[in-house]
């Protein structure tokens, strides 16, 4: 793991990698506020299927997104081993429900290869590129596009 104080040059960035259904994903660490263990959430009426529910983060009410469902990998069955990554890309704070957080890595931007032309619509819209780390492919997610779309909420 890199030291927190390490200065990153412009083309380097730190990422948090996590797994969902044995696939590795990552998001920019700048968006991550903290990582928490799974706590039961409160179901939301009329919510899109990828919204797992609401959680209480020290008094703040925030929605938890089922990343598995959001990425088109099927509904997650949350257990005590699941992890919620609290992200705040802009003014909205949400939790990402993932299976496990694996690592914090420093990668350089030119290591990122563009998303291959696959069929899955979710993959295409949410994955901005792919890093290769050892023998592992890490899909870099565009956090902003994953955030719940206003149009999804309240109309279903």
């Amino acid at each position: 793991m890199p030291e927190a104080a390490q200065k990153l040059s412009a083309d380097k960035r730190e990422i948090v990698s996590f797994t969902i259904h044995d696939q590795a994903f990552c998001i920019d660490i700048g968006h991550v506020l903290e990582i928490r263990g799974w706590t039961p959430t409160t179901a939301l009426p009329h919510a899109p299927d990828y919204v797992n529910g609401l959680m209480n983060l020290r008094g703040t009410v925030l929605p938890v997104l089922d990343m598995s469902q959001r990425l088109g990998l099927g509904k997650a069955e949350p257990s005590a081993r699941h992890v919620i990554i609290i992200v705040r890309p802009d003014d909205m704070t949400v939790g990402f429900l993932v299976e496990a957080v694996s690592d914090i890595l420093t990668v350089s931007n030119d290591e990122m290869t563009p998303t291959p032309d696959v069929n899955s619509a979710e993959t295409k819209s949410f994955v901005e590129g792919i890093f290769t780390h050892g023998d592992q492919l890490i899909r870099a997610l565009d956090v902003r596009s994953i955030m719940p779309a206003q149009s999804d909420i309240g109309t279903q």
């Binding site: 409160t42 009426p45 009329h46 609401l54 009410v61 909205m92 206003q150 309240g154």
Partner: protein
């Protein structure tokens, strides 16, 4: 805007409030010297600040205004109804000038110059009046405003009893600067004269012979002996504006003869009109609410108390409120997690727990109290609106306020300004008849609009009443039909007809005046009040007037709710619209139509909505015997019975908005955190009520809601 300027406008707001209070007291005849002084100081301070910032228009006007007040202060100008009206007008104008200055810059207008002329005229008429006053004995009628009703419980009175007629010696040596600023020792001496027996000695040793005399020099030393019942701070107040401009010594002279002299005496030979003080029980008892209001206000009036307040940014208070909210929740969580094991109830931990609970409760209450503000400021703005509106419509109306010391959350008072303004305009424009019409109907020409605030069972109730013609229901109905809001065949109850006023795009007045009908309808008024967690209802009687009742939560942070469970989820149903809970096993539930169920109550059939189904938590289910029904009644009078699986206890919950991190959800008002840390959603009961064809909400939420019920 820089900080200084911002501070000035903030201060102006407070000063204008003092001004408004003072003018109200003058109009009500309860003003005393300190009121006039306070009003004068308010205007004077605004002038001072405006001068510092180079706001010439404001300075010019407040100067003219101040002069009139100064004459009054000196007892030279009597308060007539005409003068009261002028002062009010001046006060309103000052208000708008300050607002305009804050918005960028005040400009002069014709009315501005007219008003300044009127104010100057008021001062000038004085000199003539004074000549006559010198000759004739001033009759009490001339100074009808002057008889002072002394509040028996007031602090002044208490102070008077403590020191009946104390002797003071005042040594007053003005500096030249005092004269340069145009301050006049004579006025101060007069003011002292009003306070008691005065013996003035002027030492003129230093005055140059006439040959070398310069008027700008300050050569006269004054030695004033005064015997007065007035407490020392008020004596000092006379010299308030001369601070740093003179050498001033005030000391008490121990004089045995100064013992008890019950009546304050004023020299009859003085040219200054005598102030007759009456301790009149009559006016006190008849103007009960006014008297009590003054009592509560009195501390705010005294000069010293101003320093006991602290100006804090609202952000900081809000942060405090939030943290305390969390603390209360954490405390509840801790208590819950400690309650189950075999912990003895008198163990030290349990005792500490109980103490913590009490403390956190008190802490929450005190923090909430910081945000609480009396509605006085809001009501004062409304009396401005009344005056404006009456001027524009040519109707005559007065505003009577009651309970203006009632405290409400600051946000509530702020957000009530627009809806109340609109309602007041409506009351005058649509509610009140023209003076002639009123006379014909056997009513006084001047209409009365009353605005009252009171605490009612944990909520704030604000009532707006007018004694106008009442709602013309036939006309309302006709308009609604014409505008396609209802169908002509529809049969509406009186309440339902009245509620048509709240429908979007409704306006009954034949001619849309520039007052009402500014694009803000009563529908906006209602939605704004609802956004504050409030309700508004109408009661109207033909020929007698209309009453609007607004009921608001005390604070926007806490809500009283019933905890229920539905499909394994816990939800909170606000108790404000909850009328009754019935167990299904004890109720008579009937199948109606294909799958609809209704509850037969004493006074009719009420549709049953399964809360779980309505929120999409479960598929359509039959109403189970072990369920409970919550009877909900909306302001419109429409009712619905919500079927829930289980009803737990009733408690106060802290409201957590959903909009910040998510979005408004149909059927859900907000969320809260329960004692175990889990989140529970707060049900928006109004949206649970099936909207009949008569009153169809045209908002998105309503439309969506309609779809859902039909689905």
């Amino acid at each position: 805007m820089n900080d200084l300027l911002e501070g000035f406008f903030e201060e102006c707001e407070e000063l204008l409030e003092v001004l408004g209070d003072g003018l109200d007291a003058m109009a009500a005849g309860t003003a005393d010297d300190s009121t006039i002084n306070a009003v004068f100081r308010a205007v004077h301070s605004i002038k001072g600040g405006a001068g510092a910032f180079g706001m010439d228009v404001l300075v010019e006007f407040s100067h003219a205004f101040e002069n009139v007040l100064d004459e009054m202060r000196a007892g030279k100008l009597a308060l007539t109804p005409a003068l009261t009206a002028l002062l009010y007008q001046a006060g309103d104008h000052l208000n708008s000038l300050v607002e305009a200055s804050a918005a960028g810059g005040a400009t002069t207008s014709d009315s501005h110059h007219d008003l300044i002329r009127d104010l100057k005229a008021a001062c000038q008429s004085l000199s003539e009046a004074q000549d006559t006053a010198l000759e004739d004995d001033p009759t009490p009628e001339d100074f009808g405003f002057m008889p002072l009703t002394i509040d028996l419980d007031g602090p002044d009175e208490a102070a008077v009893e403590d020191s009946p007629g104390t002797h003071y010696e005042i040594r007053f040596a003005p500096h030249a600067a005092l004269y340069e600023l145009g301050l006049e020792p004579v006025l101060m001496l007069r003011a002292l004269h009003d306070m008691g027996e005065v013996d003035v000695e002027a030492t003129c040793d230093r005055v140059e012979p006439l040959k070398s005399f310069s008027s700008g020099e300050a050569d006269i030393l004054w030695r004033i002996r005064i015997k007065t019942e007035v407490p020392r701070p008020e004596l000092e107040q006379v010299f308030e504006f001369t601070r740093d401009l003179c050498d001033l010594d005030i000391f008490e002279i121990d004089d045995v003869s100064a013992a008890a002299e019950p009546e304050m005496t004023a020299d009859q030979s003085t040219p200054v009109p005598k102030v007759t003080k009456q301790v009149a029980p009559g006016p006190l008892s008849t103007s009960e609410p006014m008297a009590s209001a003054t009592t509560q206000r009195a501390p705010g009036k005294s000069r010293k108390s101003g320093r006991d307040t602290l100006r804090v940014e609202l952000d900081r208070v809000d942060r405090l409120v939030n943290i305390v909210g969390e603390l209360v929740i954490s405390e509840a969580m801790l208590r819950q997690s400690m309650s189950d094991p075999e912990m003895s109830s008198n163990s030290s931990a349990a005792n500490a727990m109980a103490q913590l609970k009490q403390l956190s409760g008190e802490l929450q209450e005190s923090v909430m109290a910081i945000r609480a503000q009396p509605v006085r400021g809001l009501f004062q703005r409304m009396s401005r609106i009344i005056r404006e509106t009456t001027r524009e419509t040519g109707k005559e109306a007065r505003l009577v306020t009651e309970g203006d010391a009632t405290e409400v959350d600051k946000t509530v008072t702020e957000r009530l300004v627009d809806p109340l303004t609109h309602m007041i305009r409506n009351a005058v424009d649509h509610g009140l008849e023209t003076p002639d019409a009123r006379e014909a109907a056997g009513k006084p020409r001047i209409g009365t609009v009353s605005l009252s605030a009171a605490h009612r069972s944990g909520r704030i109730q604000i009532q707006l009443r007018d004694d106008g013609a009442g709602i013309n229901r036939a006309k309302v109905r006709e308009t609604a039909v014409r505008k396609g809001l209802i169908s002509a065949s529809e049969d509406l109850s009186e309440t339902e007809t009245d509620n048509l006023l709240f429908m979007p795009g409704f306006s009954t007045n034949d001619s849309v005046s520039n007052l009402s009908g500014r694009g803000v309808g009563m529908d906006v008024v209602r939605s704004e009040i609802q956004a504050l967690g409030g309700r508004v209802s109408i009661a109207s009687k033909a020929g007698e007037g209309t009453t609007f009742t607004i009921s608001l939560p005390l604070t926007l942070a806490v809500l009283e709710g019933m905890i229920v469970s539905v499909a394994g989820e816990r939800l909170v149903v606000p108790t404000t619209s909850l009328r009754e809970t019935v167990r299904v096993s004890e109720a008579s539930v009937h199948l109606f139509g294909q799958s609809e169920r209704v509850l037969a109550m004493r006074d009719g059939l009420i549709p049953i909505v399964d809360l779980g189904e309505r929120l999409g938590f479960r598929a359509s289910v039959d109403v189970q015997v072990d369920q409970s029904l919550l009877l909900i009644e909306a302001d419109s009078g429409r009712r619905v019975a919500l079927a829930v699986d289980q009803v737990f206890d009733q408690r106060e919950v802290v409201i957590k908005g959903l909009e910040q991190n998510y979005q408004q959800i149909p059927g859900i008002a907000a969320a809260t955190i329960l004692g175990d840390g889990r989140i529970a959603l707060i049900v928006d009961t109004d949206q649970m009520i099936p909207q009949g064809p008569a009153v169809t909400e045209q908002s998105d939420a309503g439309a969506r809601h309609g779809d859902l019920t039909n689905a």
